[in-house]
C-alpha cells in the first residue's frame, strides 16, 4: 500500500481504496454466453487458451473442462468452450466431451471437439457413441469416424450399411465412410 499523505486544513484527505468495483470472471461469463450477446469475456478466455505456452496448456485444459461441466452452461458458451478444447484438448478432456454426445443439445459441440483431439481415447469415445445416437447426429458421427480414419469402426459401419431397415441416408453415409476407410 502506498503511503497516504497527511491531511492538512487546506486540502481534503486523499482517499486510497482497493475497491475498484466488482469485476467479472471471464471463465464464468463464457458459460453464460448467448448468441448475439457480448462475447468479450469469451474472447478473453480464447486469448488465454490460444496464446498460452505449451507448458501451461494442461492447466488451461482443466479450466476448460471445469467450465464445460458447469451446470447451466449455455449452448453458445458450450460451443465456444468445445472449440477451444478442440484446439488444445488431450485425452484428459475425453470423458467430459464424451458425456456431451449423449444429449441432442450438446452432441454437435462435443463431437466437434473430440474429432480434433489426437489419440485413441477420442476415437474410442466417438466409436462407442455410434449405437447410442440416431438421425442426423448419427450420420455426422459416421463422418467423424471416417475423418479420424478409424478402421476399428468398419465392422459396425458395415453392419449399418447392410441393414436394410436403416434409413437410406444413414446407409449412404456408412457406405461412403467405408469407402474412405478402405482407401486410408
Amino acid at each position: 500500500m502506498p503511503s497516504v499523505p497527511p491531511a492538512t486544513s487546506s486540502t481534503p484527505p486523499v482517499v486510497v481504496s482497493s475497491e475498484a468495483g466488482p469485476t467479472k470472471d471471464p471463465w464464468v461469463e463464457i458459460t453464460r454466453l448467448t448468441y448475439g450477446g457480448d462475447r468479450s469475456y469469451a474472447w478473453s478466455v480464447r486469448e488465454q487458451v490460444i496464446l498460452c505456452a505449451p507448458e501451461n496448456r494442461p492447466k488451461l485444459e482443466e479450466r476448460l473442462i471445469a467450465a464445460v461441466t458447469r451446470p447451466g452452461c449455455t449452448d453458445a458458451g458450450l460451443a465456444a468452450l468445445c472449440e477451444l478444447l478442440g484446439l488444445i484438448g488431450s485425452a484428459r478432456s475425453v470423458p467430459a466431451l464424451a458425456a456431451l454426445l449423449l444429449a441432442p443439445a450438446t452432441v454437435e459441440s462435443g463431437r466437434a471437439a473430440l474429432e480434433s483431439i489426437p489419440g485413441p481415447e477420442a476415437v474410442s469415445a466417438l466409436r462407442d457413441a455410434l449405437p447410442r445416437l440416431s438421425g442426423n447426429a448419427r450420420i455426422g458421427l459416421i463422418g467423424s469416424l471416417a475423418r479420424r480414419r478409424d478402421t476399428l469402426a468398419m465392422p459396425a459401419l458395415t453392419a449399418l450399411r447392410d441393414r436394410t431397415s436403416e434409413p437410406a441416408d444413414l446407409r449412404e453415409a456408412a457406405t461412403r465412410a467405408l469407402d474412405h476407410l478402405s482407401r486410408a
Binding site: 448468441y35 448475439g36 478473453s44 496464446l51 480434433s116 455426422g140 463422418g143 475423418r147 469407402d179
Partner: protein, 434 residues
C-alpha cells in the same frame, strides 16, 4: 470477384479461344470437336449453385454463349434469389426450361447437366464440389476454393478420382497482365527477385458489439444455408455477402481478394504444386460483435528459396501484387499497372521468353474448352488448393500470433499441434467430406 466480359458471338468465341491457345501449352488447345457445333445436343449444359451477387456475373457471361452453353438449372437456399435467377435465364432463352432448386443435391443428380458453377458462401464450396464431381459434373469453383486446407486436398483428390475438369475461380490467371508479370518474373526480368508484396482492401464492415437473433425470413432455408458450419441463429447482418466477415463461413479479404493476388505470386514463384515453408503475422481481431475476422491483417510467407511474400491490409487504394527485384518493381492490379521504371512495363509485355507460361484470355472459355477436351484448365484445382492454402496459412498465423513452419510436401505444420488441428474442421451433422 468476377470480371464481366462482353458477350461473344460463337464465331468470335471460337476464334479468340483458338488464337489464344495456339501459342499456349497443350492443355489449353481448343478441341476441334467444338468447331462447327451448333446442335443443342452439343451444347455444354450448366447448373449454377448459389445465385447471389457473384453468380450474377457468371450468369451474364454464360448467357452470352447461347450456341455453346445452356443453363438448365439454378439453385439457392433463398427462394427469391433462385427464382429471380431462373427468370433471368428463361427470359433470355425465351422458354421456361431453367429449373430452380433449393437443395444442390437435386441439381447435382440430374444426368443432363455437364458442369456446375459453385458460387455459394465459402463454407459450402468443398462439399458441393465433391458431390458434383461424384455425380459426373465438371466444376467451376468460385474462390476461395475451400474454407480449410483439408477440404482443399479432398477436392483435388475427388477431381482426380472422378476424372473431372475442375477450375478455380481465380480469373486473374486468364488476364494477360497477370500472365505477363508472372512470366516476366519467372524469367528473371526484374533480376534477382527480392520480395512480393500483396495488398488487400480493408476486411470488415462495421458492426455493433452485440446482435439480435431474428426470425428466419420466409423463403430462406437457414439450416441449409449454414450446412456444415456451426449452428447460429439467423440475423440479417450475418447472411448474404457479410458471411465473409465471420470465420465460421469465410476468412474475409484474405480469401476474397488475397486469393487473387497471392495466386499471382504463387504463379511467378513456380509454386503451383507447392507453397511456402514458413508464415508469421498478426491481426486485429474484433473482441465482440457478429464479425470475427481480423479488421487488419499483416502476414508474411517465406519460400524455400528465401523470398518472402507479404499480405497486408491497405485502407486506401485497393489491392495489388508488387514484385520487387534488383532492377526495380512492378505493381499490378486488376485496373492499374505501375512500375519503378516505365521500361519495365514495356519489357514485361514483350513475348518470346525462354520460360513461357500457359496463356488464357478468358477464364470461362478456358473452362468450357477443357470440358470438351478433358484437359486441365488454366486454374486447375491443384494450384487453386495451393493458393487457398497460402490464404489459410496466413489466417492461422494471425489467429495463433506466432511463427509457424510449414511442410508443403506433406501439407502439415512442423512442431505445432494446435496449428495442425486448424488445417481442418469438424462439420455439422449430417455433412461430411467423405
Amino acid at each position: 470477384m468476377t470480371t464481366l466480359t462482353a458477350p461473344l458471338s460463337r464465331r468470335r468465341f471460337l476464334k479468340t479461344t483458338s488464337l489464344a491457345t495456339a501459342a499456349a501449352a497443350a492443355p489449353l488447345i481448343l478441341p476441334s470437336s467444338l468447331l462447327g457445333q451448333a446442335a443443342p445436343s452439343n451444347r455444354i449444359t450448366v447448373g449454377i449453385i448459389g445465385t447471389g451477387n457473384i453468380a450474377d456475373g457468371h450468369i451474364d457471361t454464360l448467357l452470352g454463349y447461347p450456341e455453346a452453353v445452356r443453363i438448365l438449372a439454378v439453385c439457392d437456399v433463398d427462394r427469391a434469389r433462385r427464382d429471380f435467377a431462373a427468370s433471368r435465364v428463361n427470359a433470355r432463352y425465351g422458354n421456361s426450361d431453367c429449373t430452380a432448386y433449393n437443395d444442390f443435391r437435386e441439381l447435382n443428380r440430374r444426368t443432363d447437366i455437364d458442369a456446375v458453377w459453385i458460387c455459394t458462401p465459402d463454407h459450402w464450396h468443398a462439399l458441393i464440389a465433391i458431390d458434383a464431381m461424384r455425380h459426373g459434373k465438371d466444376v467451376y469453383i468460385e474462390k476461395p476454393m475451400t474454407l480449410t486446407i483439408e477440404e482443399g486436398r479432398a477436392v483435388v483428390e475427388a477431381a482426380r478420382r472422378y476424372q473431372r475438369v475442375a477450375q478455380h475461380g481465380t480469373q486473374h490467371r486468364s488476364m494477360k497482365r497477370f500472365h505477363d508479370v508472372a512470366e516476366y518474373v519467372r524469367n528473371q526480368g526484374l533480376g534477382k527477385l527480392d520480395r512480393i508484396e500483396v495488398t488487400i482492401p480493408p476486411n470488415n464492415r462495421f458492426c455493433a458489439a452485440t446482435w439480435t437473433p431474428e426470425p428466419v425470413p420466409a423463403g430462406l432455408d437457414w439450416d441449409l444455408w449454414l450446412g456444415p458450419s456451426p449452428w447460429r441463429p439467423y440475423t440479417s447482418g450475418g447472411c448474404h455477402y457479410n458471411f465473409r466477415f465471420i470465420s465460421d463461413n469465410a476468412y474475409g479479404q484474405i480469401t476474397n481478394w488475397g486469393a487473387h493476388y497471392l495466386d499471382i505470386g504463387q504463379w511467378a514463384l513456380d509454386m503451383d504444386a507447392s507453397g511456402p515453408v514458413e508464415v508469421e503475422g498478426h491481426g486485429h481481431f474484433p473482441t465482440t460483435g457478429l464479425f470475427t475476422n481480423a479488421t487488419y491483417i499483416d502476414f508474411t510467407c517465406r519460400y524455400a528459396n528465401g523470398i518472402p511474400m507479404s499480405c497486408r491490409t491497405r485502407h486506401e487504394g485497393g489491392g495489388s501484387v508488387r514484385f520487387v527485384g534488383e532492377r526495380g518493381w512492378l505493381d499490378i492490379s486488376r485496373n492499374r499497372m505501375s512500375a519503378s521504371e516505365p521500361d519495365l512495363l514495356r519489357e514485361m509485355q514483350k513475348n518470346g521468353r525462354p520460360v513461357q507460361l500457359p496463356l488464357s484470355n478468358n477464364h470461362h472459355e478456358n473452362f468450357l474448352a477443357c470440358v470438351r477436351s478433358r484437359a486441365r484448365p488454366i486454374a486447375d484445382v491443384e494450384l487453386g488448393h495451393r493458393t487457398t492454402t497460402v490464404c489459410n496459412l496466413g489466417q492461422i498465423a494471425l489467429v495463433l500470433g506466432r511463427r509457424l513452419k510449414w511442410d508443403p510436401a506433406h501439407e502439415e505444420f512442423v512442431g505445432d499441434d494446435t496449428a495442425n488441428r486448424m488445417r481442418g474442421r469438424a462439420l455439422r451433422s449430417p455433412w461430411a467430406l467423405t
